[in-house]
């Protein structure tokens, strides 16, 4: 079996997420004298066809105000009708995050005036949300180079169901505000985490793990570029053994990389201020992607009173949670949903390690990329003889880089996965070597219709593994170069490499070099 070495350089190059997250790792001497405290509030759009309280479509990218029901634009007399699908999504997500499901939860009105909030209030769950007291355990990498990671657990205070607001677009040319209500009423789950993280890396790792879980559950697309997942971060600093400092809130961070960068920037900004004895003000800030800075949006001093009130048009939300009782009212049934839970990312990682012998790091990397994970599972299940190790390595060391280089979407792997599998089989059975493997793969990534077998045959790229034949080739080379053999035998050991190189050349890259090595050593004795 050919051995493919784990090459960290290769990992870094190919594995963009890790690279992105860790470029901002905060460092510097002053950090040691400060603690930083980070808490996250994450809004995830529930994957559903219709809105939380109306039948309007939730499709992304529709023309402005085309997905708006009478209820969504707060037409007088309309009433909210709770979407059962969204409740189910909330319950199954809560179960996956080890929450306690509230058998009865309530909806509340949160009042504020804004142009894209047509009713003048948002329907949310303030007093008693659908689920409380969960936790999320996730891996945090300390550095890519030494592949060290540690487990961290964050407490999830609550999950609440709520509706999204619309969107205001400011048209500078006409000095007008334009309102798009397509997003108004879109179902959201808000995750409120306790402030128990310490920096941007931990926060980014939490978000990444949450994304993986939600994608597994199919309860959120997690497409951050479509606003399907938005992160707010509360950040404060304090000296060890002193009370928590004044916190700032960074709103609507729109990428995992942004989470790490924004929080680390904010921690550093607060430390800089404190060291200059400037007071930190309680305010809301925005993460500006272009300048890589957080920018003050509004001070919390003119704090709004949201005048919360129970939503009178929605009865209490009952969830069936007791297995012993009959679900007579056809409630959303947590006991059934629990049995339908897919495997969670951490379970998958454990399985990859125990069943397939992957290392912890490799299992993390694999699970972090759902599409490549699916490819991996596909390849090893449709041919049980395939080595998980080789399959992993060829995906992450060879395929991934080529996909990036050729600007191919990861979805492209669906088109080439069968041919890719055949190619792996050639490699694993030593019919070809890694070099040939790469040459064929380069073509495959450009053109999904090629046959690797034909290409190998046409170019006569099959590996020469026949010992007799290899011996002949080696002997011929040595016979042609008697004086070099003599020099080698006289101690010029460097020439050994030259001999191997010549074999590569002579055989047009097809000799089984492991065997050549053994044969050559024998011949030169």
């Amino acid at each position: 079996m050919p051995r493919l070495l784990v090459n960290d350089k290769c990992l870094k190059r190919n594995y963009s997420f890790l690279r992105r997250s860790f470029c901002n790792a905060g460092s510097g001497k002053s950090i040691k004298t400060w603690n930083s405290v980070v808490g996250l509030e994450i809004h995830a759009q529930i994957a559903s066809d219709s809105k939380l309280f109306s039948a309007a479509s939730t499709k992304f990218g529709k023309s402005a105000n085309s997905c708006v029901s009478f209820f969504d634009c707060a037409t007088p007399g309309t009433l909210p009708v709770l979407n059962k699908k969204c409740v189910e999504a909330g319950v199954i997500t809560a179960l996956a995050l080890q929450c306690q499901i509230n058998q009865i939860s309530y909806f509340d009105r949160k009042h504020y005036f804004y142009a894209d909030l047509p009713a003048g209030y948002q329907i949310t769950q303030q007093r008693k949300p659908i689920a409380i007291n969960g936790k999320l355990k996730f891996n945090v990498f300390t550095s890519v180079a030494n592949k060290e990671s540690y487990f961290k657990s964050s407490k999830l205070k609550q999950i609440q169901l709520e509706q999204d607001s619309g969107k205001t677009l400011n048209d500078e040319s006409t000095k007008r505000s334009l309102i798009d209500l397509n997003r108004a009423g879109i179902p959201l789950m808000e995750f409120v985490f306790e402030p128990d993280l310490k920096d941007g890396e931990e926060a980014a790792a939490l978000v990444k793990e949450l994304i993986l879980i939600l994608q597994r559950l199919n309860t959120c697309s997690c497409k951050m570029d479509e606003g399907a997942l938005r992160v707010d971060a509360n950040v404060s600093i304090n000296r060890p053994n002193e009370p928590l400092g004044v916190r700032t809130e960074i709103k609507n961070i729109g990428s995992v990389r942004g989470v790490a960068s924004a929080i680390n920037y904010e921690i550093k900004r607060q430390i800089d201020l404190c060291e200059k004895n400037i007071e930190i003000v309680n305010e809301t800030r925005a993460w500006d992607v272009t300048s890589n800075k957080t920018i003050s949006m509004r001070s919390k001093e003119d704090k709004q009173d949201y005048r919360f009130m129970p939503e009178p048009n929605l009865p209490p939300l009952h969830i069936h949670v007791d297995k012993e009782l009959k679900n007579t009212h056809n409630l959303v049934d947590a006991t059934i949903l629990k049995t339908q839970m897919p495997e969670m990312p951490q379970e998958t990682r454990n399985r990859l390690q125990t069943d397939y012998g992957l290392s912890k790091t490799h299992s993390i990397i694999l699970v972090n990329e759902p599409i490549l994970f699916d490819l991996f599972m596909y390849l090893i299940t449709c041919n049980k003889n395939r080595s998980p190790y080789i399959v992993f390595k060829t995906i992450f060391h060879e395929l991934l880089g080529l996909l990036y280089k050729n600007n191919q979407d990861n979805d492209y792997v669906l088109e080439i996965r069968d041919e890719f599998g055949k190619l792996i089989d050639f490699l694993q059975s030593e019919k070809i070597n890694l070099m040939v493997f790469n040459n064929v793969l380069k073509e495959l990534v450009k053109n999904p219709t090629i046959s690797s077998k034909e290409m190998i045959e046409k170019n006569n790229w099959f590996q020469i593994s026949d010992e007799e034949e290899l011996k002949k080739i080696c002997q011929t080379l040595l016979d042609e170069n008697p004086h070099l053999v003599e020099q080698y035998k006289n101690g010029k050991k460097k020439l050994y490499k030259y001999f191997l190189g010549q074999i590569v050349k002579k055989t047009n890259d097809t000799a089984n070099m492991k065997k050549v090595d053994q044969i050559m050593k024998k011949l030169l004795q």
Partner: protein, 513 residues
């Protein structure tokens, strides 16, 4: 045709079914009457064109013997806080003066689908905030009783036909009660056979009482609120105004039942109510809550109350005094809850999506402020202000939470009475006959509501069904009424006894000349 307009739905329905009367002719007569009675200001909009179309459709169903039921071809009216697709729905406010909804309220849709004919949208206090139908952007409504226009009618009393005595001058007219005053006038005058009102604290029963018609507030959740522009969501119920208990039942059977669009409707399918022809009330336990005998109760209403309870007793019912000890707190409790929900419900009127948008572009806040202060009257604005104050986080516990606690105490009062075996409660609907306009406006809206809603409001707190039935005329010829209240979903019992009372008191009928 005119004398048919003041008949019952049952009588006219038979004539339609037997093709004796054409729905379009009936509608034409009713439309003509709306023009004659315009001074009463019952309607904000008369839907002439729609009524014409609908009645012609009814004609053709009549021709093809495919009538849709007892309401097919029957002219009705709808309070102008129920949405009607394509017809302005104003809530008697400038804010919604130009608002034309794109959908029908469920109750109107059901009536329309049963073949009834919409005559128009009736007047109310702005956003149903009031008890007189005097605080309307379109001006006050006038009670037919005691007005000059009553001369167009004959009073049919125990089959005696009497001319109505001459009435006060035009300046001295009586209010219709409210907030569904327009609907009550429309029904009492024969401009329609039935009308929808809404009832959050008595807004259907109060004008029914003053206008001498039957006013039913069904159990909360029995009838859909979808499309009813809310006042107090947790108390609002569509109400029914008719001239007879049977007519009321015909409408209830058409509009009641669960609605997917209103999550607060009771999920159990509604079984149409049928009243047995023999009305036996012997053995019924009827309670007279002593707290309803308040200081402001007029002597005439009180003696009326006692007389009917005596009649019930004579017929074999057991009449007994009961106590609802938290009654006196109901009004103040309602006042807090009402304002909180009003403040919240009214926040959607920002002039952006619909409604009045003031000419103001300096800032979004300035636009809101100007639109809202122009679009709402003083009553609405002051309730919004008070409600927002009650909902501030520092006040929430002291007002909203406390009021909710009082509310459950009031509901418990009723539960205790029902648990003790009482079947129904008999009370006054209003404390007096209809007040004169000049007297009524001497007190402000809030002061009036606290008197006007005194007997009706507790039923809303507890979600109970209640009905106002006209009993007799006062010494000066104005209707006096009483109220029956029943446990939740006991509409059958409520209507059965109401009908028994109706049969025995023989309230004089107004018949068009």
């Amino acid at each position: 045709m005119n004398n048919l307009l003041t008949e019952s739905i049952r009588t006219v329905g038979r004539k339609i079914a037997s093709s004796e009367v054409k729905p379009s002719d009936l509608t034409k007569a009713a439309l003509k009457l709306t023009t004659q009675l315009r001074p009463l200001n019952a309607f904000i909009n008369v839907t002439h064109q729609l009524a014409k179309t609908q009645s012609q459709e009814s004609d053709s169903r009549q021709d093809s013997k495919k009538l849709l039921g007892s309401l097919d071809g029957i002219p009705i009216a709808v309070k102008d806080n129920f949405c009607t697709a394509g017809q302005p729905t104003t809530c008697a406010s400038l804010m919604l003066a130009d608002f034309v909804p794109g959908y029908d309220a469920t109750v109107y849709r059901k009536l329309r689908e049963a073949g009834s004919i919409l005559m128009g949208k009736t007047n109310l206090d702005q956003f149903a905030m009031g008890s007189g139908t005097v605080d309307s952007y379109y001006g006050p409504s006038k009670n037919l009783w005691g007005s000059e226009l009553a001369r167009n009618y004959i009073l049919e009393d125990n089959s005696h036909k009497n001319e109505i005595e001459n009435r006060p001058t035009l300046e001295e007219w009586f209010i219709a009660g409210g907030s569904s005053g327009g609907s009550a006038i429309a029904v009492s005058s024969g401009m329609c056979f039935a009308a929808l009102g809404s009832d959050s604290g008595g807004s259907t029963r109060n004008p029914a009482s003053y206008c001498g018609v039957v006013g039913l507030k069904p159990t909360y959740g029995l009838v859909s609120r979808h499309g009813l522009i809310p006042l107090v969501n947790s108390m609002d119920v569509p109400g029914i105004l008719t001239r007879t208990v049977d007519d009321c039942l015909a409408v209830l059977n058409t509009i009641a039942g669960p609605d997917n669009m209103d999550s607060t409707t009771i999920k159990v399918p509604f079984k149409p109510i049928e009243l047995s022809t023999s009305l036996d009330i012997s053995g019924l336990k009827i309670g007279l809550p002593k707290e309803y005998k308040c200081a402001e109760l007029s002597e005439e209403v009180e003696s009326n109350w006692l007389e009917v309870s005596r009649l019930l007793e004579e017929a074999g019912a057991k009449v007994l005094p009961v106590s609802l000890p938290h009654t006196e707190y109901s009004i103040v409790c309602y006042s807090v809850l009402n304002k909180c929900e009003v403040a919240s419900n009214m926040s959607r009127y920002d002039g952006l999506e619909y409604g009045l948008r003031a000419d103001e572009s300096s800032s979004l806040d300035a636009l809101y402020a100007k639109s809202r202060s122009e679009g709402f009257n003083d009553v609405v604005r002051s309730r919004i202000l008070a409600g927002n104050y009650f909902l501030l986080s520092e006040n929430y516990e002291n007002y909203f939470v406390k009021a909710m606690k009082v509310r459950s105490l009031i509901a418990q009062d009723f539960d205790k009475v029902w648990d003790s075996g009482v079947d129904l409660l008999l009370t006054p609907t209003t404390l007096t006959q209809a007040p004169k306009y000049q007297d009524f406006i001497c007190a402000d809206n809030q002061a009036q509501c606290s008197v006007q809603d005194f007997c009706t409001q507790p039923a809303n707190m507890a979600g109970l069904p209640a009905i106002s039935i006209p009993i007799k005329l006062s010494r000066c010829g104005m209707p006096l009424s009483l109220q029956l209240m029943a446990p939740m979903l006991c509409e059958e019992r409520l209507l059965r006894v109401a009908k028994w009372i109706e049969d025995i008191v023989k309230f004089p009928r107004l018949v068009l000349k």
